[in-house]
């Protein structure tokens, strides 16, 4: 996280914050909402800009921004689920169309596994393992106490491993090519080993 100082209310500083943090924010939000990440991040910046004068630099501005963006992503994710349910209802009674070959997993898809996690669990993994945030910064970004972050991280990783195993089992069901994974070397269908 950039340890730069930003002056609340300063338009120039907000521009600088946008340039510094947009990319990182996009990575975090993409782990939660996938293709809707760009819209979500832009909306988060709009909301942050409205509240820029009331921002208090008690926590890093990047963590503050992440908090706004993650909350926004949670809302978007909820809407995505509703859209999915509506789509399922619309499809009722019709034969299911074959999956788009472009969407079929051909390798271990970490991004897809992350999107299957609860939004804040996906965020905690990205914040720690991609951005290298401290517990305090993660706690502020997620709105949870600092001491809760470690347990949240453990739970998120356990869930991610389960999702990856399921994903691996599904994809190797279609493709029997052996893969090198951290969950077990040379995994094949039905042979996912414990990590």
């Amino acid at each position: 996280m950039a340890a730069e100082e930003y002056q609340p209310g300063s338009a120039a500083d907000f521009d600088r914050l946008y340039r510094d943090e947009r990319s990182r924010l996009l990575q975090t939000v993409r782990a939660i909402v996938g293709d809707d990440a760009e819209d979500c991040v832009q909306d988060a910046f709009v909301q942050a800009f409205r509240n820029w004068t009331s921002y208090r630099p008690e926590a890093p501005a990047a963590a503050w921004l992440h908090r706004i963006a993650i909350n926004r992503a949670v809302s978007v994710r909820r809407r995505q689920k509703l859209r999915g349910v509506a789509e399922s209802i619309r499809r009722l009674g019709r034969p299911e169309s074959p999956p788009d070959p472009g969407n079929v997993a051909t390798s271990l898809d970490l991004g897809r596994a992350l999107r299957k996690l609860p939004p804040r669990q996906a965020a905690v993994i990205v914040l720690r393992h991609l951005h290298g945030y401290s517990n305090r910064e993660i706690g502020f970004a997620l709105g949870i106490p600092e001491r809760t972050v470690a347990s949240r991280l453990v739970a998120a990783k356990a869930k991610l491993m389960i999702e990856l195993e399921l994903d691996l089992a599904t994809s190797t069901g279609r493709d029997s090519t052996p893969r090198q994974t951290p969950l077990g070397s040379e995994s094949r269908t039905g042979q996912v080993q414990d990590a």
Binding site: R24, Q27, R30, L114, H129, L130, K157, M161, P182, L183
Partner: protein, 180 residues
């Protein structure tokens, strides 16, 4: 949790979530949707639901208070008594005092006088008190005053001792009371 998994995760996240090239700063949406006129309007509109909740709450509280007051009034109001057999209303065949006493809902209104008819004239005065338009029957009692001392005819004042609104107009001159 194995460290191997942590290392793998850290390395794989870079490829799963690649860093995007920075777009032109001018595409930032907050630059277009800053708190301008429309932004301020939207901000004001966001307050509207709160104001609505407050107004609805106040109206609801007032309605509840009114309802409660009405209920208490209905519960604690004394039952309307049936007229006693000696009551003029009963004598007139009215089942209740209200049927004869006009629009006055209170049974206490005729407490001070006879209902529906003026008191009989007393000797010495015609007690020709007249009812004022507002002095509905039963709403008050009217007495012609007794006449002045014998031999002197004086007008009965005809002042209605009304517990209602009206006062009687001046009575006709009283007849002198015959002296024994």
């Amino acid at each position: 949790m194995p460290d191997e998994f942590d290392r793998w995760l850290t390395s794989q996240l870079q490829s799963a979530l690649p860093e995007e090239s920075q777009p032109p700063h001018e595409t930032a949406r907050y630059l277009r949707r800053g708190p301008g006129r429309w932004g301020q309007l939207v901000r004001r509109l966001r307050l509207a639901p709160r104001v609505g909740v407050i107004v609805v709450g106040l109206v609801g509280a007032a309605l509840l208070a009114g309802g409660a007051t009405a209920a208490v009034h209905l519960i604690t109001a004394p039952a309307r008594p049936a007229p006693s057999p000696s009551h003029p209303a009963a004598a007139a065949g009215c089942p209740t005092a209200r049927d004869c006493s006009g629009p006055s809902p209170s049974p206490d209104r005729h407490r001070g006088g006879s209902i529906g008819s003026p008191s009989p004239p007393r000797p010495g005065g015609s007690a020709a008190s007249r009812l004022s338009p507002s002095n509905t029957p039963g709403s008050g009692h009217r007495h012609g005053r007794p006449s002045s001392p014998p031999g002197k005819g004086s007008g009965a004042n005809g002042k209605g001792n009304s517990s209602g609104n009206g006062t009687g107009s001046g009575g006709a001159p009283g007849h002198p009371t015959p002296t024994p």
